[in-house]
């Protein structure tokens, strides 16, 4: 009996092909959007992790509370000791020290007089030890526009835009004016060894990258660090593991009496990412719901049209003695097959487009004024969910659409359906 219905379904193109195309288009879009959101989200997480938050970050409690002010006076002291301990305790993790700082960059002319001056925000990272992996993490080689990476403590990289604004060339001296950890003024000379562009508006506006040794000496931070960033060994952020790690760490190290005691904060709780991560989660479900509704309506209508065309067949089947519930079930069965076929086709198409989009779409033009930590290229990412997510709206919408359309069969009197046979 089932094969009898399916035979009919396959032979009747208007009943099979059209709905399959509708489902396939919807499913392809769902898959594509899914991959795209995941890709953008994944890139955003990576970008935030690498440039700002780590997968987890250790700071002193007061530093964390005032983090917007780059409060290096509240830095972690004796960071070497802490670093040694956590490296033993969590041997799989990668730990690095960083200092975020702000300051005025002064570019002198030949006579040593100020030529140009501008406020900059910078990041001191371990570039010289050769073991930190920071150059790769920050993608420095590929972001280099001119010059080379720092080879000494007092060589710095400027963002290319910043360097142009200050009118400095590779090899030129600049002076960094800031404040030491203890609040005194600090004036230190650096040489610009190269310029970089990250493709992120926030970083490219006034960015400085320096080795941590030079900045420690400039700001009198020997033995201290603003932040210790932790990264999972496989390089992927795992929200659950990060949360667990943090509460474990905080149980051991935190001390309500000591506001300088270290706290560990997972990525999710930094840079307002909680809201964003949740929003993305809602967005994904929302998109799926929207597609279920939209596709159901389309399929409902095409089901109604198809149903009108099939009143003859329905009347006949009733006349031959098939029961209404049986007919209704056969329609739903047909819908399940259509939904599955459309979902398979749509998923394949969606994955194909997603694959093509993994190469990325440049939106840097749209982000030139943005303060979000976001990369200028949006990429799709194909995750396992992409292989099945489309089946939810695909099958649900066809079944729902058919179920709604099929109610007409119940509403009509048998004799009425039957009368329509006579015309």
């Amino acid at each position: 009996m089932l094969s009898f219905y399916l035979k009919g379904l396959l032979r009747d193109r208007s009943r099979s092909l059209m709905p399959i195309i509708v489902v396939a288009i919807g499913v392809a879009l769902v898959v594509l959007i899914q991959c795209w959101i995941t890709g953008v989200l994944g890139d955003m997480i990576d970008f935030n992790a690498n440039f700002s938050t780590g997968h987890v970050k250790i700071m002193s409690r007061t530093y964390y509370e005032n983090i917007d002010q780059l409060p290096n006076d509240l830095a972690l002291l004796e960071s070497d000791e802490l670093l040694g301990k956590i490296k033993d305790q969590y041997p799989g993790m990668m730990w690095v020290e960083r200092i975020q700082f702000g300051g005025l960059v002064d570019a002198p002319d030949e006579n040593g007089e100020t030529k140009e001056q501008g406020p900059g925000g910078g990041m001191a990272v371990d570039l010289l030890s050769g073991k930190s992996g920071e150059a790769e993490r920050l993608n420095l080689e590929r972001s280099l526009v001119r010059g080379a990476l720092p080879a000494g403590s007092f060589e710095i990289l400027l963002s290319d835009d910043f360097a142009r604004k200050l009118d400095v060339q590779v090899g030129d001296p600049v002076t960094l004016i800031g404040s030491t950890m203890f609040g005194a003024m600090s004036i230190t000379n650096f040489t610009v060894c190269g310029t970089v562009r990250f493709g992120s508006a926030v970083l490219d506006r006034g960015g400085i990258i320096a080795d941590i040794s030079g900045i420690r000496s400039a700001f009198d931070m020997t033995g201290a660090t603003g932040e210790i960033l932790g990264f999972f060994p496989d390089g992927y952020y795992d929200d659950e593991a990060a949360g667990k790690l943090s509460s474990e760490f905080n149980e051991t190290y935190s001390d309500p009496q000591d506001e300088y005691a270290p706290v560990m904060v997972p990525l999710r709780e930094q840079n307002n990412l909680t809201g964003y991560l949740d929003l993305v989660g809602y967005m994904k479900s929302f998109i799926i719901i929207i597609f279920v509704i939209a596709m159901s309506i389309v399929l409902w209508n095409s089901g109604l049209l198809g149903g009108l065309r099939r009143y003859g067949e329905m009347g006949l089947r009733l006349a031959i003695g098939e029961e209404k519930p049986h007919i209704y079930r056969s329609l739903i069965t047909e819908a399940v097959f259509i939904g599955l076929a459309g979902s398979v086709a749509g998923t394949a198409i969606g994955l194909l487009f997603s694959y093509w989009m993994t190469k990325g779409i440049d939106i840097s033009g749209m982000l030139s004024n943005s303060t979000m930590m976001m990369q200028g290229v949006m990429k799709a990412e194909i995750v396992p969910a992409a292989y099945y997510i489309g089946f939810i709206p695909g099958v649900l919408a066809t079944v729902l659409g058919t179920a709604l359309a099929g109610i007409g069969i119940y509403k009509r009197q048998t004799a009425q359906l039957f009368k329509e046979l006579q015309v």
Partner: protein, 231 residues
């Protein structure tokens, strides 16, 4: 004679709601038909033939009165018993053939047996037999759109006959056929009536059909005006 009764109609009234009131399509019909009859309801268009046939075929229900078909009375009938009755005992033939165009001749004839869950080998034999009765063995793989009107109606006869029902109801079966085809299908049905003892009940106003009938019940305005047997 009483034991042979296959259809018993007592004081049947059928009313349809129209506008604010009701329209009485059948008004106090009492009739009975015996096993193996080859009879017809005859009358002008609008006289109530189709309505009567639909009620006998349990596609519609009486407003008043009682209709008993092959032991199933209209009184306690529900959708399930009605479809059981149709599935097991009644074959329908319509003016417009109503074949399913995506299925072959073979598949169209096979469908009633699938509903009856007949085993495959038995089913195959029954389908081939039915198609042979109507002389369409060479068209077994054709689809309805490729058939002439006469051929289509013969497929419909095979479909009605394949389960060897006790009763076949044929509503204006020749209305869309020319004289030669009309005679052909009536001869086919006459033969089946003789060989399988199937009861045939027609609704028609076509003289070509009327000539074949053994009993003619004439309706006018929802009432039986005459009921005569032809020898």
């Amino acid at each position: 004679m009483e034991n042979n009764t296959i259809i018993k109609i007592e004081n049947l009234v059928k009313q349809f709601p129209v506008g604010g009131g009701t329209f009485t399509a059948l008004n106090g019909i009492s009739l009975s038909f015996g096993k193996g009859e080859f009879s017809g309801i005859v009358g002008p268009s609008g006289s109530g033939k189709t309505t009567l046939l639909n009620i006998i075929g349990s596609l519609d229900s009486p407003t008043k009165g009682e209709v008993t078909v092959m032991g199933t009375g209209s009184g306690g009938m529900n959708a399930k018993t009605a479809s059981q009755l149709r599935k097991n005992h009644i074959g329908f033939i319509f003016q417009t053939y109503n074949l399913m165009s995506v299925y072959t001749v073979y598949e169209n004839v096979e469908f009633p047996l699938l509903l009856l869950k007949m085993p495959a080998s038995e089913r195959r034999k029954a389908v081939l037999d039915a198609i042979e009765w109507v002389g369409l063995t060479d068209k077994i793989k054709s689809r309805p759109p490729q058939l002439s009107g006469g051929e289509s109606q013969r497929v419909a006869i095979a479909r009605a006959m394949v389960k060897r029902p006790g009763l076949v109801l044929a509503d204006e079966p020749t209305a869309n056929l020319d004289a030669a085809n009309s005679h052909h299908i009536l001869q086919t049905m006459e033969t089946l009536n003789k060989e399988l003892k199937t009861t045939f009940l027609f609704a028609t106003h076509d003289d070509k059909v009327i000539r074949y009938l053994k009993r003619i019940v004439t309706l006018a305005d929802g009432k039986v005006v005459s009921d005569e047997s032809v020898k």
